[in-house]
Structure formats: C-alpha cells, structure tokens
C-alpha cells in the first residue's frame, strides 16, 4: 500500500484531517494525564531525602522536556517550510510556538516552586535555569517577529530563519549540565545507564510526558486550523466550508 504523503500537505485536505485527529489526541492526553497524575500522587513512593515536595518533578521534568522538544520540532517544521516552500509547515511552526512558550514558562515556574524548599531560593543563576530562560526569550522573539511582520509569507520565512538560528541553543541547554555543572542536579535519566529512581516514579514521569505530548499535538492542531482559516480566508474551500457549516469551526 502506498500512501501519498503530500496529499495532506495542502491546507484544504489537512483541515478536515486535523479536525478528525483533535478529539483522539485530546482524549489520549486526558487519559495519560489521569493515569500519570494518579501514579505520581497516589502510588509513587515518597522520596527519602526530599519528602513529598519532590512530586513536582512529575510536572517539572516533562514540561522541561517538552519545551526543548517543541522548539526542535518547530525549527524542523520551519526549516521544512523554508526548504520546500510549503505553507502548511510554516503554519505548524507558528502553531507550535505558543505551546512551547507555555511549557517553558511552566518548567520555570514549577522549577522555582521546587527550588524554594530544596535549595532555599526561588531562583538560582545556574546554567540550566538560565538556558531555559533563554529558551523562553527565543520563543518570545520568534512570536514577536512573526506577529510584527504583516506579510504572512515573509513572516513565515523570517521566523523560520530565526528558529533555525535559535536551535543552536537547544543543544547548549542539554549539554550545559556537563559544561558548567553547578547547583542543578544532573539529569536523572541517562540513555544506557540504569535510571537512578524508582520504577514507579519513572513510569509516572513518562506518562506525564506522554500526556504533554498528546496535549501539544491536540492544541497545535487546533491552532493550526485557526491559522489555516485565517490565512486562506479568500480560498474557495474556506468559503464552501463557511457556507456548509455557518455555525463556525468544527
């Protein structure tokens, strides 16, 4: 069986597909979230050093992962859009940016809530915290640049270039732990080495990460549908859609 991947690269065909996918991803997100939260708050054992306060890890670490992953994915979409001149890729990049910024903010806020009881300070100028903050700035810069250019084509391409330039920063974040190892604990999960935490904790964290993934996909698809309608409002298929379903987006 041969699938024509390019079929869904046009907004016209992708719009209904995205509409069909959103409920599924939203459902999965909710399911993983419930399971993840149950495991992390009811089943996972209390940490013998940090007590109950460590449980914020179940939100903090997945959010930090997502903040970095979304940036890379966004840059990949942007690069694809720049290279293939595909409208939809650029729209995906634009749709991902706010979610990424929110996860970055979430990671920073939960991190500082966690840092207060553990390190005794809301904020420490540690390399990882700082690079996460820089990542937030990069997201904000991307969004600011895109929104301040009126011509959407130019906005897409300028934003794509900026995202590609900024993606240099993501590996710096990841390796900064090794480079300037200071106060922040090293990452608890290493490829190759056995995880240094209880299996249930790991499971809870992974479930939360999956929930965040699904949430991101669902929200990005919703947002990209809005962007598609807005950008292509003069196209025939949008007009037909509005005639068929005047009640609005569905």
């Amino acid at each position: 069986m041969k699938i024509n991947w390019f079929k869904y690269s046009s907004p016209q065909t992708f719009y209904p597909l995205a509409g069909k996918m959103i409920p599924w991803f939203a459902l999965l997100a909710a399911g993983f979230m419930v399971a993840g939260l149950y495991i992390s708050f009811a089943i996972a054992p209390t940490d013998f050093q940090q007590g109950e306060a460590y449980r914020i890890i179940f939100v903090h670490v997945p959010a930090a992962w997502m903040s970095m992953v979304i940036y890379v994915v966004m840059a990949a979409w942007a690069g694809l859009g720049l290279a293939l001149n595909a409208r939809l890729s650029a729209m995906m990049a634009q749709a991902l940016a706010p979610t990424g910024a929110i996860f970055t903010l979430l990671a920073l806020v939960t991190g500082s809530l966690w840092g207060k009881p553990m390190w005794g300070a809301w904020w420490v100028w540690d390399a990882r915290l700082t690079s996460e903050l820089i990542l937030l700035f990069l997201y904000l810069g991307f969004m600011a640049l895109q929104s301040s250019i009126d011509d959407p084509r130019r906005a897409d391409r300028a934003g794509a270039l900026l995202a590609l330039v900024g993606v240099v920063n993501v590996p710096i974040i990841y390796f900064s732990v090794k480079w300037w190892n200071t106060l922040h604990q090293g990452s608890s999960i290493n490829m190759g080495a056995a995880p240094k935490m209880a299996a249930t904790m790991l499971l809870g964290m992974l479930l939360m990460a999956l929930a965040f993934w699904m949430y991101t996909i669902a929200v990005a698809l919703m947002r990209v549908r809005c962007i598609m309608l807005e950008r292509e409002r003069t196209a025939d298929w949008v007009k037909e859609l509005s005639v068929k379903e005047p009640s609005g987006v569905r």
Partner: protein, 215 residues
C-alpha cells in the same frame, strides 16, 4: 565594499561617536547608582563593561542595513554577481571597525575607573577583541530579519540579546577569572570559538535573511 562603508561612516562621524558615548554613559551610570567603593566596582566591572559593550553594539545594529535599504543600494547588492554572503561579511566587518573597535579601545580607560588591576585590563581588552566580532556577526542576522519592520529597534533587542548571552558569559567570565588569579585561557578559547562559529554561519544566515526581507 569595506572601503565604501568605512568612508560612509567617516563622513557621518557623529554616528560612531554616539555608540561610543552610549558605552561611556552606560558604564558611568553604574558607579553612580551603586556607589564609589573600589572593591564593589572592580567585582562588578567585568559584567557591567561587557553588558555595556553588548548594548552599544546592539544600538548601532539598526544602521547596518537601513540606509542601504532606503536608497536601494541593498537591492543592487542582492543582484550583484559576487556572493551576497561575502558582501554582507564586508559590511559586518565595517560595522565592527566603526562600532566594535572603538569600544574595545575605550574599554581599558573605563576599566581603570572601575579599579581593575592591570592584568585584568589586558584580559578585558583581549576578550572584547575576541568577542565583539561575534556580536556584530550575530547582530547582523537580527538586523537583516527586522529590516523595514515596524518597531524594529525593540524587536532587534528581543531577537539578538538571547543569542548574545554565551558571548557575554565567556567574555565576562574571562575577566573575572583573571581577577581571581586564574587563567582566562579557557574562557578566551571558548569566546574565540563563538566568534569563529558565527564568522562561518552568520554571513550565510544574514544573506538568507536579507533575501527574505527584500523581495
């Protein structure tokens, strides 16, 4: 190209002077705000001087392409047979000679005001010399992206300052290291690496950004 830009800058000397005065004023504001104790000043000097240099470099970025964009010569450059990245590199070099180099030369004087010891002064100049080209190079990408965009001055700050941070860390780190009697070589090497990396990548990215902005 380099000669043309330098000549243009020479004709409008006040532009160069503004950057320099900005650097001077910003770095003189800190002692006024913090107080004249030499110990405090010399401990904050590396960071303050580097941040001031960063801002001075950034303020002048908007002029990098704006004039050429306004009078149409930028479009001629895009159409020129020479590779655009090379032309861009010449423009960036001119920008650094006009805006970066004076700051480097002025820095030891301000360092003296901040009661920096002699060897730290030397490292300060060296680190600025190695780091400011990276500032001009990275800044050029931002300047090219925001060309002709409304509110471009503020936008450039938002885009470029996060990318400046590694340069700031290594630059200020080098001076601080030498103040504490350690070798600044590691920081200086990393700084040079930043500059070299941006020397390779930034002209290409800037050229691409210019093509996007001028179409």
């Amino acid at each position: 190209m380099l000669r043309r830009d330098l000549l243009l800058a020479l004709r409008r000397r006040s532009d160069v002077a503004t950057t320099l005065f900005f650097f001077l004023i910003v770095s003189s504001l800190f002692p006024l705000g913090i107080g004249p104790e030499a110990a405090v000043l010399s401990s904050i000097a590396p960071g303050v001087l580097w941040v001031a240099a960063l801002l001075a470099g950034m303020i002048s970025l908007s002029r990098l392409f704006a004039a050429d964009f306004a009078d149409g010569s930028l479009e001629q450059m895009l159409l020129a047979p020479q590779p655009l990245a090379l032309l861009v590199l010449a423009k960036i070099l001119a920008h650094w000679i006009v805006c970066g180099l004076p700051v480097v030369l002025l820095a030891p004087l301000i360092g003296l005001q901040y009661a920096l010891p002699n060897d730290a002064l030397l490292v300060l100049v060296l680190s600025l010399l190695l780091g400011t080209p990276a500032l001009s190079l990275i800044g050029a990408i931002g300047a090219a992206l925001t060309l002709g965009v409304r509110g471009s001055g503020l936008l450039v700050a938002l885009l470029v300052l996060p990318l400046y941070i590694p340069v700031l860390i290594f630059g200020a780190g080098a001076v601080a290291a030498s103040q504490h009697g350690m070798s600044a070589q590691a920081h200086l090497s990393l700084l040079a690496a930043c500059s070299l990396l941006s020397l390779v990548l930034a002209p290409l990215a800037t050229a691409a950004a210019l093509r996007i902005s001028v179409e």
